[in-house]
């Protein structure tokens, strides 16, 4: 699903660069001397920057090089608040393109990521505290839904932290870390407390 898109973008970049129409290609777009924004690139950014950085590290390296050549902007940061199971809040700054799981680990926030973001577990389950922000996220893929099926304490606004990628419109997002990780029955059975 992502690869065809990336190939389209990649092919586009190659085409434009070779045509000489662009002075440079950066992550946020193609700088042109005379032709204003390319819808294709502009509408892709979140997908391009986020998921691909995660899942296709070799592409991310390429993009980094392009960015350092062409971009003269500082790396964009957004504000994210994590609320842990005791209600304690921690505000952190997350660079655009980084997943919430990675950001949590970089800031010593206790969010388990057993499968290292490969969509093979649900330990990085977070709850998006505001519906507005939840709606801004792209729908979960089948694979993410498969793992959310197994998360304990699932809510209407639950997502996997490794799949939420920082983008400018998520500035100010608040994520709650669910209270219990002790439920381990696939069918939702909760053992009685002793």
């Amino acid at each position: 699903m992502l690869l065809p898109r990336l190939l389209r973008v990649g092919a586009f970049m190659v085409k434009e660069l070779s045509r000489g129409g662009c002075t440079s290609i950066s992550r946020t777009g193609c700088t042109r001397q005379h032709w204003r924004p390319f819808i294709e690139l502009q509408s892709v950014p979140r997908v391009f920057q986020g998921s691909i950085f995660q899942k296709y590290p070799h592409f991310s390296t390429t993009a980094e090089n392009d960015a350092s050549h062409g971009s003269n902007k500082q790396k964009d940061m957004i504000n994210v608040t994590f609320v842990d199971k005791d209600g304690e809040e921690k505000n952190i700054k997350v660079p655009v393109g980084m997943s919430m799981l990675e950001a949590a680990h970089e800031n010593d926030i206790e969010l388990e990521g057993a499968c290292e973001g490969s969509l093979a577990c649900s330990t990085c389950h977070v709850i998006v505290m505001d519906m507005d922000y939840y709606n801004k996220l792209e729908d979960p893929t089948d694979e993410e839904n498969d793992m959310l099926d197994l998360a304990f304490g699932l809510t209407e606004t639950s997502r996997l932290g490794c799949q939420i990628v920082a983008s400018p419109e998520l500035d100010g997002i608040r994520l709650a870390i669910p209270a219990a990780t002790r439920n381990f029955a696939v069918d939702g059975y909760v053992p009685k407390p002793h």
Binding site: S122, E143, D146
Partner: protein, 478 residues
Amino acid sequence: MYKARAWLSRSFTALSSNPLRVCVVGSGPAGFYTAEKTLKAHQEAQVDIIDRLPTPFGLVRSEKLQQIVINQFSRVVQHERCSFFGNVTLGSSVSLSELRQLYHVVVLAYGAESDRALGIPGEDLIGVHSAREFVWWYNGHPDGKNLSPDLKSTDTAVILGQGNVALDVARILLRPTEELATTDIASYAWTALEGSSIRKVYLVGRRGPVQAACTAKELREILGIKNLYVHIREDDLIKSPTDEEEMKNSRIQRRVYELLSKAAASASSQPMLGQRELHFVFFRKPDSFLESNERSGHVSGVHFEKTALKGGGPGKQYAVGTGEFEDLDCGMVLKSIGYKSVPVNGLPFDNHKGIVPNIRGRVLKNISGDSSQVENGLYVCGWLKRGPTGIIATNLYCAEETVGSISEDLEQGVLASSSGLPKPGREGLLQLLDNRNVRPVPFSAWEKIDSEEKRLGSLRNKPKEKLTTYEDLLKVAT
């Protein structure tokens, strides 16, 4: 709390001037997560993981996409306070009581290597196999090689059960063999499947689609097989109010049901010539296996009783026979009705549930559930503790609970008092094994096996070519 625990752990060390010695039996996900969490929670603990196979990782080894998990587990074993010993069998190489003398803590995480039995006539007919054995067979498990299923004398296979294992075996039978050629399926299995005459597979469940035990991902995979005719009876998809309630409470059931109804809706009315067929059959309970008239001793079909769902409320509906019967002709049956753990000498066992009686991982002396009757220093984790359900990640939480119990017991002095004396641990085990002429296989040997399998695989354009006999495995390992 953490500080107190850390102090106690340290003081345990100081008092007895020896580290906490832990033995984990079983090197699948449950064993590894337990080892990892124990090492993390107790900075002086020494953890040994033993397994009866020369290779670690248990069932994970037979699954695709698990390289990340294997990497994680490899890191655990490579920890300086951790060791892996393959080819060491609980019961024959070393007994449970010996292990409990050698170590302060023993955690049993050896999973489930047997099957639930149906207990119906004809179960011993040739052609009736357990799905578990079939999976071992095509995955090159050294205990599975001799299954030699006959795939040539029939075009129909019936699979009893609709869980993920059932779907997995159905997929192996129905997938075009060209696709299988580049997986790490055992070569002899691939050859057998190439010559297979099986074209029709029935997946039969006692209850309805709302109660199907599989999960969405596995269902999507099988429904996505190219050029496959999928059939589901429309009537079977009708939902009762209780069914609706069940689906409301469970995302998993909802998503599975949706996939099944979509598949039913988009199916053509007839299979095309040459198309392989997958039939989902619901509300059928196996009553007996039918013996062939032409080939005595061989199965020729399954005699089913139609069922209806009865009471209990959402999530608790069970199948009840209606007195009406129906037969399905077939030459092969695969029973996928659940794995079962194997009891060990000296270990209390709940035969009904197929687990070791325990409370939060602490083994109980008997199955009465009395929490005061705890076996000190003995714990369980994984399928042996919970029954054979869940996925790999389920064991993460399971291990968390068991290690939590171990830490609590340490803190409360339950372990320290009975084991104030130093325990021989690793050195003791190795000495004992040496005296018995048992040669444990270390993790570095697994790495040799792994690279050899990959090397052999590269010669045939496969990710790896599995070594499938104990002989071959041990030869490369040593």
